[in-house]
């Protein structure tokens, strides 16, 4: 079942179109930076973008910083919202369950497919960022790649930090996916499931910025999204990264549990 869902994911043109569009924006930004040589002024624009001119090896991180606030969550929410509700909307969910397939197995297969899409998207953006950065922005040697603390980053340092960043952002997006996947088991409309997931994220973003919500801030899903920046400090600040991974794990466990509890016994009419 998992293999079937993964093959379906990889063969569907929509998967590659959405990932292609995700990768396109960082490429466009890199082209503008390379042609004009004008980076955002310090303190402005996405994280690390001000430091990438002549430092193309940092561009994977900057590329993920560009798509993280908006486009990546949208793509993941749409994919996860589609998982179950899409089958129901197309009228194929009932036929899927007529096969000797348990509902829990089907849900697990859908989950694995969504996680695969999420990691694929994050890795694709990072890889595109690297190729684009090195090609267009260069690693001239005039500018040493440094941490935010100004200390030098060796290629090995940069590689493991970027790798952990990809995993961290991927796991944060699995948190987004779990919201939409749960909603996808509640409704037959994939659009409603995706928009519901995005509504949760927008609400979380508003509350994170609100001092009055300080008591719950550390438990909100988007609270630690930007903690990956701490990987590029020296010494690495692990505290928020660990907290972010834990918070996402909490949401993933609770929401997938709820998705399972609902989907395993709901009436499937489509």
């Amino acid at each position: 079942m998992i293999g079937v869902e993964l093959r379906k994911l990889l063969r569907r043109p929509r998967t590659w179109v959405s990932i292609g569009l995700l990768c396109l924006l960082p490429v466009v930004v890199a082209v503008f930076l390379a042609v004009t040589g004008i980076a955002p002024r310090p303190g402005q624009g996405p994280t690390l973008l001000a430091a990438v001119l002549g430092n193309g090896a940092l561009y994977p991180a900057a590329a993920l910083g560009i798509v993280l606030p908006f486009f990546l969550p949208i793509a993941v929410a749409v994919q996860a919202g589609e998982a179950v509700a899409g089958e129901a909307a197309a009228g194929t969910l009932r036929y899927l369950l007529v096969r000797p397939v348990g509902r829990t197995r089907l849900l697990v297969a859908k989950l694995v497919s969504v996680i695969a899409y999420t990691l694929l998207a994050v890795v694709a953006v990072a890889a595109t960022g690297y190729v684009t950065g090195v090609t267009l922005l260069g690693t001239s040697g005039q500018l040493a790649t440094t941490t935010l603390a100004g200390t030098a980053l060796t290629p090995a340092d940069l590689a493991w930090r970027t790798g952990v960043m990809v995993l961290y952002i991927g796991w944060s997006m699995v948190g987004v996916a779990s919201v939409s996947l749960f909603l996808s088991t509640l409704t037959d409309s994939p659009l409603a499931a995706a928009l519901g997931g995005l509504a949760v994220l927008v609400s979380s973003t508003v509350l994170v910025a609100l001092d009055a919500a300080g008591a719950v801030r550390d438990y909100l899903p988007t609270r630690y999204w930007l903690a990956w920046v701490d990987l590029f400090r020296d010494p690495v600040a692990w505290q928020d990264i660990q907290a972010g991974a834990l918070v996402q794990t909490g949401y993933v466990v609770v929401l997938l549990g709820a998705a399972w509890a609902n989907f395993a016994t709901r009436d499937v009419t489509n």
Binding site: P42, Q142, L148, G150, T151, A152, V253, V254, A258, T265
Partner: protein, 381 residues
């Protein structure tokens, strides 16, 4: 009617609900229990706790810090990030090896600004502008930096200013960051102070102040600073060494900011008493401070052009200019820190008078300065 399906659904939802409740309990109630679990009362006097806090500058530690300022100050040109520092939240990472060997990083999602304290100099690395600035020597006056608002540093400064007229009392012991702390409350004895009280929680094991809360006379928190993730012990030498940053723009300066530059160049021989307040210390050069205990007023002489810029900035931020005997003043107020920009009618004498005191006291200081303008020092005659 209950069916097999509905009872299965109930069991599943019960399992998910129980798991969620357990998780929420662990995450929410756990820290609360940890913070409030019974702590043995302090066996010492508040004065002893205060003395231990003042003697804690050599306690080596690493931690993360957060300071939340509630002062609504206008953003004035030349005064750097003062308004943001005292009116917003500042997140820091701290490595403290001692008063002459420390590092404080101010971090946000876009970068960081790291300050390295070393014997005889302070070096600042700003990632966003890629500048590495070393300031040599100790300025007699300067703008506050993020490291000044760290709980231990700010608490020691505040407790060090407590005078015989101020009252200190004990607060119930509590846990801060999981560590047992003894609380001390300081209340100004002089009603002209805008501080209602300041509460300091001091680590019982080391004497390190871990939390400071300053409450203004309006009853609201004006500044709260706290350390978390505290680890005792000497930080690595590598962490305390400024970066080589080969591509950074480097400079070596003798004054860190506008206030330090202006204070160093002050041409006036300042009086030893203003509005009934005596000068703190014999040195009246630069930006002298007057008063005692928690009622202190700093007077910063300004060059005429700078004074005009500051007045223009303050009036465009909503403050009104008032004509008074001998010149003009502009009042800048917040719930804790007040300031008056003063410009003499001779167009040469100008000052910023500031302190955690009632505006009426600042007006009195301004009136004295305008009524009897200080003469130039010997070198400027």
């Amino acid at each position: 009617m209950s069916t097999v399906v509905t009872s299965q659904a109930r069991r599943r939802w019960l399992a998910v609900g129980s798991g969620t409740l357990l998780l929420a309990t662990l995450l929410g109630v756990g820290p609360w229990l940890r913070a409030t679990v019974a702590v043995e009362p302090a066996g010492t006097t508040p004065q002893a706790v205060l003395d231990r806090a003042l003697a804690s500058a050599d306690v080596a530690f690493s931690a993360t810090g957060e300071s939340r300022g509630g002062l609504a100050l206008p953003d004035l040109s030349g005064f750097g990030d003062l308004a943001a520092l005292l009116g917003g939240t500042t997140d820091t990472r701290v490595w403290w090896g001692g008063p002459r060997r420390w590092r404080v990083d101010t971090v946000d999602a876009l970068g960081e600004t790291d300050t390295y304290g070393q014997a005889g100099s302070v070096t600042t690395w700003d990632y966003e502008s890629r500048r590495l600035v070393t300031v040599v020597g100790d300025a007699s006056a300067r703008l506050p930096r993020a490291d000044d608002l760290l709980a231990p540093t700010a608490a020691r400064r505040l407790l060090g200013a407590v005078g015989p007229g101020d009252r200190i009392s004990s607060l119930p012991a509590r846990r801060v960051d999981g560590r047992v702390t003894d609380g001390v409350r300081v209340e100004p004895g002089d009603p002209r102070s805008t501080v209602a009280h300041a509460d300091v929680w001091v680590d019982r094991a080391t004497g390190l102040p871990l939390r400071l809360a300053v409450v203004g006379s309006g009853g609201t928190d004006a500044l709260v600073s706290e350390l978390s993730q505290v680890r005792l012990g000497q930080p690595d030498d590598a962490v305390l060494t400024p970066p080589a940053a080969p591509t950074a723009r480097r400079s070596v300066e003798s004054a860190p900011d506008l206030v330090a530059r202006v204070a160093a160049a002050s041409p006036w021989d300042m009086p030893d008493r203003l509005a009934g307040l005596g000068a703190v210390g014999p040195d009246l050069a630069g930006a002298p401070t007057y008063g005692d205990g928690l009622v202190r007023v700093a007077v910063l002489p300004l060059p005429p052009r700078t004074a005009e810029d500051v007045m223009r900035g303050a009036t465009s931020a909503g403050s009104a200019t008032e004509e008074v005997d001998g010149g003009r003043i502009v009042r800048i107020g917040s719930n804790l820190l007040n300031a008056v920009v003063v410009r003499g009618a001779d167009q040469w004498h100008a000052y910023v008078v500031t302190g955690l005191v009632d505006p009426a006291l600042l007006d009195a200081v301004a009136a004295d300065l305008l009524a009897d303008p200080p003469p130039p020092t010997r070198g400027f005659r």
